[in-house]
């Protein structure tokens, strides 16, 4: 590997990491502000303009607080769990392309942490790993409420990961028909969503070529599944305050708690980013190259990506302000009896339809 290549890779990773941290800081503030608006309140307004530095203030406070270690904890696991929660959260976002690749000299700079050819599988793997952080935190705390939260997290993650994976499979099958051969690479999936549906019918030449339109049912299932996967209201049984004090992080304080908190918000953003990438075309959009200065048309894809992602992040906040928490059996019913059958049915329907389009009817 030559030095320029190394520099480009370092740049990609560092910029992606910083971007994620910055949007997380904004997300925490945005959630509090939006929640306040939905409850006729003002919300954070003191730290910085419109209270935008509230997260920084909270973070500093948590950083200087004592991290209490209760006597009965399983020390190794207890110290490891916050890292197990936060590292997968960051790694997931590394897969997401957040801007259009550009050229410096003859080197291509992809605005993405890493473009794995098994990107989607890696995302699934990491989102399963994230559960270990929660489970180990609950188990190692040596206390009943965290343990209950951890047990809930296990069952919930398994149930909804299946639906999430099946919705992804439908997209992957569909994407395979959009270019040459199938792909699991996130960059390639976005690439295949550029342009419009104009080639199907001239009427559709203003409709962007997003997977959302042919795969609308998969999108709905995916949306429900990621809310459950990130343990957010109305699926936040893992940390149900009214029943389990703080859930799996009851015994954590100070910076260790802050890491769980950060992981939750990083997960919200990365899951929304994945939904935007798979269904809403990621950074794809009109860049007006040539008619606009290069810098603007080069940064427009990133802006499109952020707009799409924040639209989904907003849904997370909206759901939290609206819906009461599900009962545990309702959660399981929704997961196993509704979402998974629906995802399977959709996969069959979509695959059959794609097969007919690709190869024609078998009897013809």
């Amino acid at each position: 590997m030559s030095w320029p290549e190394f520099g480009i890779i370092a740049f990609r990773v560092v910029v992606t990491f910083v971007l994620l941290l910055v949007v997380t800081v904004i997300n925490v503030w945005a959630e509090r502000k939006i929640l306040a608006d939905m409850q006729s309140r003002i919300g954070p307004s003191r730290a910085g303009p419109w209270g935008i530095l509230q997260t920084v203030a909270d973070g500093l406070k948590l950083f200087f607080k004592e991290s209490v270690i209760p006597r009965k904890v399983e020390l190794g696991m207890y110290l490891l769990a916050p890292f197990l929660a936060i590292i997968p959260a960051f790694l997931i976002f590394m897969m997401v392309p957040w801007g259009k690749p550009f050229m410096i000299g003859d080197h291509e700079v992809a605005l993405q942490g890493a473009d794995l050819n098994i990107g989607l599988l890696f995302i699934l793997a990491m989102s399963s790993m994230a559960v270990y952080g929660v489970v180990l935190a609950g188990w190692s705390s040596g206390s009943k409420y965290p343990l209950l939260g951890a047990v809930r997290a296990t069952a919930q993650a398994i149930s909804y990961e299946a639906a999430m994976g099946l919705a992804m499979v439908a997209v992957v099958v569909f994407t395979a028909t959009q270019g040459e051969g199938g792909t699991l690479s996130m960059a390639e999936i976005v690439e295949r969503q550029t342009g419009t549906w104009g080639d199907i019918s001239p009427v559709l030449s203003f409709v962007p070529r997003w997977n959302l339109f042919p795969q609308f049912a998969a999108f709905a299932i995916f949306l429900v599944a990621i809310v459950a996967e990130t343990n957010r209201a109305p699926f936040d049984l893992v940390e149900a305050e009214q029943e389990l004090v703080g859930g799996f992080h009851t015994e954590y304080s100070g910076m260790r708690f802050a890491m769980f908190f950060l992981a939750e918000y990083v997960n919200i953003f990365s899951m929304s980013a994945i939904a935007a990438t798979l269904f809403l075309g990621g950074w794809a959009g009109p860049t007006f190259e040539g008619s606009l200065p290069g810098l603007i048309s080069g940064s427009l894809p990133t802006i499109y990506f952020l707009i799409k992602t924040y639209a989904i992040v907003f849904i997370f906040f909206w759901l939290r302000a609206t819906l009461p928490r599900l009962r545990y059996d309702q959660l399981m019913t929704l997961g196993w009896k509704r979402l998974i059958p629906a995802a399977l049915t959709w996969l069959v329907i979509s695959t059959v339809a794609i097969g007919f389009r690709q190869f024609g009817a078998p009897w013809s």
């Binding site: 939006i34 608006d37 309140r41 909206w318 302000a321």
Partner: protein, 218 residues
């Protein structure tokens, strides 16, 4: 499908509230220390010991407030007035008057019990202190000043709203029976609604009518 309809109905409630809050239509909270809200007229805040317009103290040291107080937070000791230079129009005056604000439940029974309207409640509620001794309000803190304002424990505090102190709930009951006649019928300060205008004290008018010159001459 009923579930989905209900779901959308719920989203519309929160979404609509958000839009109305952003436009300021439905905002129910205020940025408190920056922006004080108008309190209801009969708000039960901290106490004040009123004076008559001529400066006489209304408290006569009868201890009825201390007796009626359910929290037993008022301590009063009366003392005979100096006949030459009386503090209150009555026989005695409240020589010691202390209210422990940590125990007070702000029920205003003391206000109802007071025979001379000496103790009333203001709109002040910012009474936090950093030690318990400061929470015991003494006569000096409770007594209204000459202009009808209420002394504040910490006048330099950023929460001390001096304008609010100046319009404290110090409504005045005519003038003292043995007060100066030139003050008869004069309302000096009127805060929030009290029992309304009061007639002159019976003795005061008579005293005026029976001024020595008129009486003696016929």
């Amino acid at each position: 499908m009923g579930v989905i309809r209900e779901f959308i109905k719920g989203l519309r409630v929160t979404g609509g509230t958000m839009l109305r809050t952003i436009t300021g239509e439905e905002l129910v909270t205020t940025e408190y220390p920056k922006e004080m809200r108008q309190k209801p007229p009969r708000f039960h805040g901290r106490h004040v010991l009123n004076r008559y317009p001529d400066g006489m103290e209304k408290c006569i040291g009868c201890e009825l407030c201390a007796g009626v107080c359910p929290a037993k937070c008022i301590f009063v000791r009366g003392m005979d007035n100096d006949p030459e230079n009386p503090t209150s129009p009555g026989e005695r005056f409240g020589f010691v008057y202390e209210i422990n604000m940590l125990r007070c439940i702000f029920c205003a029974l003391c206000v109802e019990a007071c025979p001379t309207e000496a103790i009333t409640m203001t709109h002040l509620f910012e009474m936090s202190t950093t030690n318990r001794e400061d929470a015991i309000y003494t006569r000096e803190t409770l007594l209204m000043d000459e202009k009808g304002g209420v002394p504040h424990m910490f006048p330099d505090d950023e929460l001390a709203d001096m304008d609010e102190l100046a319009v404290a709930d110090g409504w005045v009951k005519a003038t003292a029976p043995s007060g100066m006649t030139s003050y008869q019928g004069v309302k000096m300060w009127q805060g929030t609604p009290g029992p309304g205008d009061w007639d002159p004290e019976p003795g005061q008018s008579e005293l005026d009518a029976r001024s020595p010159t008129e009486d003696d001459d016929g």
